[in-house]
């Protein structure tokens, strides 16, 4: 079973399935009149459209790294490797951007290739590492969302629809979780679960469903007062049908906005955890690991800034775009409040 999940074909399948799922949600939403109106409004929003494009580019690069092809020697490598990374030479250690010698005052050894953003301690090209960092961020964001969004939505709807003891129970659980400082909770969860991307996703999901759950609960309560729910009840529909057929579609825009905004939170959480040394495992190209490494590099003389800067700019670009996009979506779906 472990072998099955570790296999690259399985990984490819999951990635394609994930992208298909997003496409399907968007496509099915496209029939909805509300979503169509939002799309028209979003297209008029210049900032939102730019952010959408930027996010799309990140997604594309991440997907290139995630989809693997056989390399003919029994192994496999990603499309990004084939197209770009395999052609970039590996150096011995640090070199400055576009420099042609190693950054070692003693030897002044020549490099074997040119590096637009220089190389890191182990001589890896920083540009390649930064691009590969996209995939780690996306996998983590995706996995975490897959866990926490259904959980938060389900709990929120149940609490908001049934109220009474169900509501009390759900509220009790999420206030307990929310009362523990989330970074401490994350660190202790990581210590218990061990290192790994999946473990990290579980830990982050565990702390981030609370916000969504609150939001959905409130909105469900508001929607339950509306006449269409009363009508459905009068027609004798079951609670499950009311929740899934009537309430959920009217809550999906909240889920979408929360997904986009939450994504950036997850990426930041990964960077924080990696910085604290409990994040991504060794050998994973991750922006958090790069920033953590940059801590000591900044105190070196001569200073090594390219590693930290690249990771920070990449992280900043994605998080900012996601936030702008999230805000634009909110405005598009709810023009009165926006």
């Amino acid at each position: 079973m472990k072998d099955f999940f570790a296999h690259w074909m399985t990984q490819n399948f999951l990635v394609v399935a994930g992208i298909a799922l997003i496409a399907w949600i968007l496509w099915s939403g496209a029939h909805h009149e509300r979503w169509q109106r939002a799309w028209v409004r979003l297209r008029a929003d210049r900032g939102g459209m730019i952010a959408l494009w930027v996010v799309g580019i990140y997604l594309f690069i991440g997907a290139l790294e995630l989809i693997h092809l056989p390399n003919g020697k029994g192994g496999h490598h990603s499309i990004l490797d084939v197209a770009f990374a395999n052609r970039v030479a590996l150096e011995k250690t640090y070199s400055a951007p576009l420099s042609d010698t190693l950054l070692s005052s003693a030897s002044g050894e020549k490099l074997t290739g040119t590096h637009l953003l220089g190389t890191d301690t182990l001589g890896k090209d920083v540009l390649v590492e930064t691009l590969k960092g996209c995939s780690t961020a996306l996998v983590l964001g995706g996995l975490t969302s897959v866990i926490y969004i259904p959980l938060g939505t389900l709990m929120g709807i149940l609490a908001g629809y049934f109220r009474r003891w169900v509501d009390d129970l759900v509220q009790y659980i999420y206030t307990t979780i929310a009362s523990v400082p989330s970074i401490l909770l994350l660190i202790s969860l990581m210590m218990v679960l061990g290192k790994g991307l999946f473990q990290m996703s579980v830990a982050i999901a565990f702390t981030s469903w609370v916000g969504l759950c609150r939001l959905i609960r409130g909105e469900t309560m508001r929607q339950s007062e509306r006449s269409y729910v009363a009508a459905a009840k009068a027609l004798g529909q079951t609670s499950a049908a009311i929740m899934s057929r009537h309430l959920l579609p009217n809550l999906m825009h909240l889920v979408l906005i929360n997904f986009v905004l939450g994504f950036s939170g997850v990426i930041l959480a990964e960077a924080t955890l990696s910085y604290l040394g409990v994040g991504s495992p060794v050998g994973t190209a991750s922006w958090g690991n790069m920033i953590d490494g940059g801590r000591s590099e900044l105190s070196r003389d001569p200073l090594i800034w390219w590693n930290l800067t690249s990771a920070t700019v990449a992280l900043f670009g994605l998080v900012l775009s996601l936030n702008i996009l999230g805000d634009s979506l909110r405005r598009a779906f709810d023009p009165k409040r926006g």
């Binding site: 005052s105 003693a106 182990l122």
Partner: protein
Amino acid sequence: MIRQIARLSAIAAALWLAACDNNPHPAALRETDDDGTKWSVRYQNLPEDPKSFDPQYSYDQMSRRVIEPVYDTLLEYHPLKTDPYEVVPCMLAEMPKHEVTADGLHSYVCRLKPGILYHDDPCFPGGKGREVIAADVHYILQRMCDPRVESPFLAPFAESVVGMAETNEAAKKAGDKLDYDTMNVAGFEAIDRYAFRLRLKKPFPQLLYWMAFQCMSPVAREAVEYYDGKEHDGKLRPDFRKFYAVGTGPYRIAEYLPRQRVRLERVKNYKTTVFPSDSHPPEKAEFLAKLAGKQLPFIDEVQMTILRENIPIFILTRQGYLDGMAVNKDSFAAILGAEKTLSPKYKERGMFLEVDREPSTFWIAMNLDDPIIGKNKKLRQALSASYDPATYSEIFMSGVAPVATQLLPPGIYGYQKDRKNPYGYNLERAKQLLAEAGYPNGRDANGKQLELTLEAISSGSEDRQRSEYDQRHFERLGIKVKVSENTFARLMDRQDNGEFQISSGSGWGADYPDPENFYMLFYSKNVPLAGKNYCRYRNPEFDKLFEQMSVMENSPERLAIINKMSDIIAEDVPVILTFNKQFYTAVQPWAERTHNNLMMEGGIKYLVIDPEKREKIRREWNRAPLWPLGILAALIAFAIFHAVRWNRRQNA
């Protein structure tokens, strides 16, 4: 009125700035000595907290750094003889006499210098330290046998000294009723007030080196019994086994603040040792000739600041607040210029650069009980040949540490300069060996990729980079290497319990300069918890040679056996040899080094300092630039001017 306030505040600000000082150290214990000379202080750093000041208990490096100047040893390393290392008398009047009786029993006769005193302490009658006598040596042997002391040194003594094992057994049975008055170590015999004889079960040439270790430093029974960590007359006494010392050495511990600093103060009536007059290296002959024969120590106070991070060490050294630092990866490029000499900036400052060679070897350990890696010698050889220690040294040790070619480091008897590691770095050969091991291109007969787990320490980003380096080098063979991250303590546990496949971050620093100290790590009877053979290497031929070699005095026959053992280890590859630790130390112009001996943990008593020179240079290095303040003042003035004008216009 307003003008007056402005003038006053300007004066106050100027005074405050003048009083400002970036000196992070607390004031010295005294300004001047009794005879009116200036009180001299040495400032150095300590990377971690010590664990205990009890000489029979503490074995870790940090504790040893603190207690070395506090407890003198029976013998000590000659500070200027490093190749090979040599022990000379310290508390003993002369080197121990080796005697062999007619029936083949070995013993050593030792004689203490008369008149060595314990430091003054309330535990002695009248608070005056008493003389050290032969019975004190018996007392420390008793302490080692006492299970409550948990002495890690018991094993080698119990094996070789008559009566130690039996006394230890009896003490275990007695438990809390153990009485030191009736407890007796049969191998110890007091000849007179100062002389004693140690009788041995078998030849034990390493005993002389153990005598240079703090575990054989005499301690006073009065002190151990007085400082029991319990409450007496409403006052809590410190615990001798933790952080209290009543020593015999040139310094006493004046202060220990956990996570902050240890402060040592010179002991006034110390007379035991003087600076050696022989073996001065020619390049320092003139400097050392002035010290020869002088009473030790030279410095009045030592402040050891506990600094865990590299960055503050470099900054404090640059400001002149530390008297020297080991050049690390992050400061290397700043301190060293081309050709690995001091960079012009620091040469101008008059700094010295010393090369420090530690008698230690580092390696990546493999578990020979592991079903995959333990039974497949070719696989271990392939892994060894795939690893490139030279590049590792270049990246993480700035290329200073030499690649280890054999288990023994330079300076240890039996080290061969021209020996080559038969499975040293050669990637092509490694791939071929891997194929011979049954994993062509890293895949087994079923085409499944070989997956190995590397246990590593992760306490920071640099550790992670190191692990990634190891991982990448092994993976070039086409195999998969998973890195599992541990804390240092967890990794030690894993090694002891055999819960690892490959373990990085291992190595051994010599406790004493004898090959036995390294080969014991591969002796089959030393598999944990009995010893430190965590690779679980078992080879009857090697064991036989080890047993022979360990009881021999250095001789051509012994050398032949040692070489044979080196061959066996090199062929069986229980460890992937990486490097011998060597590093540069930048020394301040006022603290010229008097010795380079790393068998000692600092050798503080031999060091010198020129406090006046330091004060002058320090002031020069710490001249604060005033222009940022000027800019700030200008900005504030501009803002006030603007605000006033805007306000007037509003009100007009």
